[in-house]
């Protein structure tokens, strides 16, 4: 492209000449500022009035107010927590934090699994294999039509149908399935593991750097050096080497049946399993449709052109179609992620202690309903905004860059 030709799409949008702001009603910028100040001021005034009124009325009804309860000892029992919790010393603030972490535990795992399952189902529904396509279609239609609460209760009841701890299924050494959940062995964590983890992070950076340089070489020479042996070395070899050099500690804590239940090892509770399973299955049916419509949105010409180049259909899907389909897929996908997160509040029905469950117990024990509900709203707002921001950023990154 020679310097003389200016592509209007690439040139920065031509800005109007800058003019000083004049304090006159005829200046649109001045008008805008005035209106914004007026609107903001009114909203602030209304909020202030409502807050004042609420506090006064709560005081008149002698209902406790304020957030001091966050620092008080909770006393409420909690079934599963990612951080230490003891009802006799931990505070309501910590209890709510556990609720938040429990919600995230469902949301993050749920989003990842629902995406994988949904994508596979969406692709399967377009399969040329009649049986696979039919099965996937039936799955989607049936699952989408059943209320999610019903599905959660179904899975919870189903998991309760597992045998008692004494008669539990024992598919692998150290793994037990019973109506008390899934018991798995855990590796006792020791300092060398931290170092190995650090080595792994270094390995990730190294792998990314290597793959970038491979891309550059490919562009320059047309031959792409192999990436996987280097990646393997960086990601597995290096951490293992570090761990080995530090004495290779390895002790496994096995669950053992003692008294009523298993002790030792880690537990995946039936409540968590039912909630995650239910949400993943439900959401994946929507994601499947999104993926399917995304793929269908890519013109058949793209398939044919790639086919003409001699690519196999799997390769076409991965390298040509999916990247283009993603642009159609991402925005509706975002709302599915938000749905999954919000649906996780149905946890109360099956006894999983998410933020809603713990906040509602807290508001019931402390009597501070408004603060409790404010906490729930704040948590969902933050999670939803984070998901939206992340997805918008990703969307912008993969958006069509015209050349």
């Amino acid at each position: 492209m020679s310097g003389a030709v200016i592509d209007p799409r690439q040139a920065p949008i031509r800005a109007a000449p800058k003019k000083a702001l004049s304090l006159s009603w005829s200046d649109p910028r001045f008008r805008n500022i005035v209106w914004q100040v007026v609107v903001l001021g009114t909203v602030a005034l209304i909020v202030w009035y409502l807050v004042q009124n609420t506090t006064r009325n709560l005081a008149a009804r002698r209902i406790a107010t304020g957030f001091a309860f966050l620092g008080r000892t909770a006393g409420i029992p909690i079934g599963e927590a990612l951080i230490d919790y003891d009802p006799s010393i931990s505070t309501y603030g910590r209890a709510l934090l556990i609720g938040l972490l429990n919600t995230l535990k469902v949301a993050v795992v749920g989003v990842v699994l629902a995406t994988i399952l949904g994508t596979l189902l969406g692709i399967a529904r377009l399969s040329k294999n009649w049986l696979i396509a039919r099965l996937s279609a039936i799955y989607v239609e049936v699952i989408r039509d059943l209320p999610v609460l019903l599905q959660l209760l179904f899975w919870y009841t189903a998991l309760q149908g597992l045998p008692t701890p004494k008669n539990s299924f024992h598919p692998l050494p150290g793994v037990f399935l019973s109506n008390r959940g899934i018991k798995i062995p855990v590796v006792e964590w020791e300092t060398p593991f931290w170092w190995a983890l650090a080595a792994f992070v270094v390995g990730v950076i190294g792998t990314v750097a290597w793959s970038r340089s491979a891309t550059r070489q490919q562009e320059a020479t047309g031959v792409r050096p192999k990436v996987w042996p280097v990646a393997l070395g960086f990601l597995v070899g290096f951490p293992v080497l570090i761990w080995g050099a530090l004495g290779a500690p390895f002790a496994v804590e096995m669950p053992v049946l003692r008294g009523f239940n298993f002790t030792g090892g880690a537990t995946v509770s039936p409540e968590y399993s039912a909630l995650t399973l239910g949400l993943v299955i439900y959401t994946s049916s929507y994601i499947a449709e999104i993926v399917r419509s995304g793929i269908l949105a890519v013109p058949t010409g793209q398939w044919e052109a790639a086919g003409a180049l001699g690519m196999r259909s799997g390769t076409v899907l991965r390298k040509i179609v999916l990247p283009q389909a993603l642009r159609v897929i991402i925005p509706p996908m975002t709302s599915q992620y938000l749905n999954l997160t919000k649906n996780s509040s149905l946890a109360v029905a099956i006894g999983y202690q998410d933020i809603v469950s713990i906040a509602s117990t807290t508001l019931n024990q402390t009597g501070q309903a408004i603060e409790g509900i404010a906490a729930i709203m704040l948590v969902y707002l933050i999670i939803s905004l984070s998901i939206s921001l992340l997805m918008n950023w990703y969307n912008a990154r993969i958006a069509l860059v015209e050349r």
Binding site: N57, A60, I76, S88, L153, G351, T361, L363, Q365
Partner: protein, 342 residues
């Protein structure tokens, strides 16, 4: 399920929108005025506990809590049937009362300082003295709570029960895993399915649960320990002393009627009694009822409608096999001690 959020939102709405309840001109009680103009008492009860508040085959809510509500309707409106029941679970009961969805809460609710100090609500009396108990399956062979170390316990959240068992297990250096589900049916089914080794709530609730198992009742045993005091009673909003008085003395009138031998059968005869205690109770003498802001013969309406405390007991909780025990009158070894009506 989302009801507590709804009630909470209503409470928020109510407190946002209106000024503090103004002193009404009518009876001097905003709640009594509302009840009278509505022609009906709205009473919060449980979602279904046999002996306390459970709809029978005709849809009529039966039980000691329901009858306590009816007695208040009789005192205020002179008619036990002018009542509407609102079923509430453990986590939405207080907000419902705070927000004014109900006039009165009689829902096996334990009187504690925390609730009275924080909720803007007040206990008007104790209609049942209870305590936290534990149910286990007979097949488990467990004989005492002390053997429950490491057990999984099913319990409803937002209750005094969950606090009591957390305290008890810590004090006795025992460990337990809680499973907390709001809905009563769901928590009971979860226990029955074997997710929990034990189900804990007020001993009365456990007796009701066992009773409802019918022929399978033998499979469940109540452990001997009662680990906490759970005085269950009637709750009203703070700031309406007149209504508070009516609720409180409604229960006392029923207890006094039992003590004085007045029943739904003999109440008309008793009106002719020469015993001044009975004459004052029934409003044949003095104007105590009127002074309280209700009909002078309010106790007659109550006793005709639901009977005295013993009659209410025999009709509601006795069939569950719960002994009268500490719920007897003070002169029969129990804790019920109605102050003098004079």
């Amino acid at each position: 399920m989302k009801r507590h959020i709804l009630s909470g939102a209503m409470l928020l709405g109510a407190t946002l929108a209106f000024a503090a309840p103004a002193a009404a001109q009518g009876s001097g009680s905003a709640t009594i005025d509302t009840i009278k103009s509505r022609g009906m008492l709205v009473c919060g009860v449980s979602t279904g506990v046999a002996g306390f508040s459970l709809a029978d085959s005709k849809g009529v809510v039966q039980g000691i809590d329901a009858d306590t509500c009816r007695a208040v309707a009789a005192a205020v409106l002179g008619d036990v049937s002018k009542i509407r029941f609102v079923p509430l679970n453990t986590t939405n009961r207080f907000t419902a009362l705070q927000a004014g969805e109900i006039d009165l809460l009689v829902r096996s609710t334990t009187w504690t300082l925390g609730r009275e100090a924080n909720l803007g609500l007040l206990f008007a009396g104790i209609n049942f003295y209870d305590g936290t108990g534990f149910m286990v399956k007979s097949a488990s062979g467990v004989k005492s709570v002390k053997e429950l170390d490491g057990a999984t316990v099913c319990v409803q959240p937002g209750t005094s029960t969950e606090l009591a068992i957390a305290d008890y297990f810590r004090l006795n250096k025992l460990k337990f895993t809680p499973v907390l589900i709001q809905d009563q049916n769901e928590i009971q089914n979860t226990y029955l399915a074997g997710r929990c080794d034990s189900y804990s709530t007020d001993a009365s609730g456990l007796a009701a649960f066992r009773f409802q198992q019918g022929p399978k009742a033998e499979e469940q045993v109540l452990l001997p320990e009662i680990i906490s005091k759970e005085p269950l009673g009637m709750m009203v909003r703070k700031g309406d002393d007149k209504f508070f008085d009516v609720v409180r003395w409604t229960l006392f009138a029923m207890l006094q009627a039992e003590e004085s031998g007045v029943t739904s059968k003999n109440v008309d005869e008793m009106l002719k009694s020469t015993n001044p205690d009975i004459r004052r109770l029934l409003g044949a003498e003095g104007d105590l009822g009127k002074a309280m802001g209700v009909d002078n013969k309010f106790a007659v309406s109550i006793i005709k409608g639901v009977g005295n405390y013993a009659e209410m007991w025999d009709r509601t909780v006795a069939p569950l096999g719960i002994p009268r025990g500490i719920n007897n009158l003070w002169n029969k070894g129990g804790l019920h001690y109605p102050p003098p009506i004079r």
